[in-house]
């Protein structure tokens, strides 16, 4: 149990450091698409929601899990589609000249 806990903290600390380094290098042009991308990524909560909605232990937990999954799925779908839509708009000058 304690060892498991330490492993979880381990992952958290390392992922935070990677996150900070990677995000620092994100182009300032792209901060809005970055936010909609991270909206989709934080919808990883779908993983927890699927387990709760799929275990079907009590009606109460199944209902909460299903609502949570719908909320996460909304973020996944709208997050990726919107990011893609915005990124398509970023064009260089050469692209415009025929």
């Amino acid at each position: 149990m304690t060892m498991d806990l330490i492993m979880l903290v381990f992952v958290f600390v390392l992922a935070t450091f990677i996150g900070i380094e990677v995000i620092k290098n994100v182009s300032r042009l792209l901060h809005t698409p970055l936010m909609s991308l991270t909206n989709a990524i934080s919808a990883i909560a779908a993983v927890g929601s699927i387990i709760i909605a799929g275990e079907q232990i009590t009606d109460f937990s199944t209902v909460l899990g299903t609502i949570a999954l719908a909320a996460s799925m909304t973020n996944i779908v709208s997050g990726f589609l919107l990011t893609n839509r915005m990124l398509k708009m970023f064009k260089k000058r050469e692209d415009k000249k025929k």
Binding site: M1, L8, I18, I50, A53, T74, L82, M86, F90, K91
Partner: protein, 461 residues
Amino acid sequence: MTTQTAIQLVYLASTVLFILSLKWMSHPSTARRSVVAGSLAMLFAIGGTLLYPEIVGYQWVVVGIVVGTALGVPLSRVPLTAVPQRTALSHAFGGLAAGLVGTAKYYLWLQQHQLTSFRTGAIVAEIILGFLSFTGSLMAAGKLQEIIPTRPITYRGQNMINLVLFVGAVIIGVLLVIDPEQSFFFPIIIGFSLLFGILLIIPIGGADMPTVIAILNSYAGLSAVAMGFVLENNLLIAAGALDGSSGLILALIMSKAMNRSFKNVLFGAFGKVHASAAQAELASIKSTSTEEGAQILGSAGSVIIVPGYGMAVAQAQHGVHDLYVELSKLGADVKFAIHPVAGRMPGHMNVLLAEAEIPYDRLIEMDVINPDFPQTDVALVIGANDVVNPAARHDKSSPIYGMPILDADRAKTVIVIKRSMNPGFAGIENELFYKDNTLMLFGDAKTMIGGLVRELEKENK
């Protein structure tokens, strides 16, 4: 290979793809790959989870996926001016999901008598973060959509009440950790967190929204991390941490660009207007016409356009594109100066201009373009105000003193397109408008830009 090992390997692949997805956002030329990597990562995450042996039926999973997709598609098609609201709404959904999963898990473990102190602690963190992000983000979305007044709503003892609510939720949380079966504490924590989220955002004004959205982004990520500790799931922790650090960095960039600390954004309502000293100089304003403006622009060798949110409100970005084309045809070097807080969320102005087909290599960030202003013939300010106010450099009594600004005033000539002399978002008088080298073009941004474009078209013929 056991199912459990298979799931963990799929999760590992998913984590790597999430990191690559963020890494490829470093440049517009690789950014399209980000979406592919991110979607693939999510597909792996969901696919791996569906393998869990605990899952006995898929009917509710399908319902959740279908409902979410049905809601998600229209939300991805909002106009770009509405992206900040959509983003805030998305943080609300993220917080709600975390809060609900935490709630479900608490009552499941309570029934099965499997609540340990560690599990309870993680659940408490998850529901506090989740539910406060939920209501806080809904409030932010409401303010951005202007359903709720954007001005700061303040009252006496505000910070005290907020502090009591938050500390109260944490103390009750600690009591619950000590004795996890005291289940009557649980709804109280939920109630406190929901209320705290609302009261935290009420006093925050529209000008601070870019920072607030970034902070809420971080909270939504951290609530996913807490869920990861509850479910002892590495993928949730890793992806949540990536999101949390992203929100944190954006919030830091935003607050630095406004010269305000987090504490200041969250606990000191902005917009308490100071009486301005510039009033006496009102007579020295010079206004101009589109004809004269077009002449000055037409003979300029270098032009820097400073767009503000007013440009987007007036829907003038496509006119600005035409202006960019006409000026380029006349041989001028045209660039755009982008302040980090231009718009209503981080990077908002870049997206608005990219939509108007302005090439992204013309969009220059503040620190890079500021040294160019003194050599620039014309700075054209469209719907921007506080971000070009020189008072930020020298007037210690100004509420924006110390905020980094775009040095538009240092250009040889400054043309400001503005609806009227009303002060901007923060309600601060702008001395740029009174300077000798400044010409004011009063009117609606879209109409004025249209007028300039027509005049320049004549010259181009």
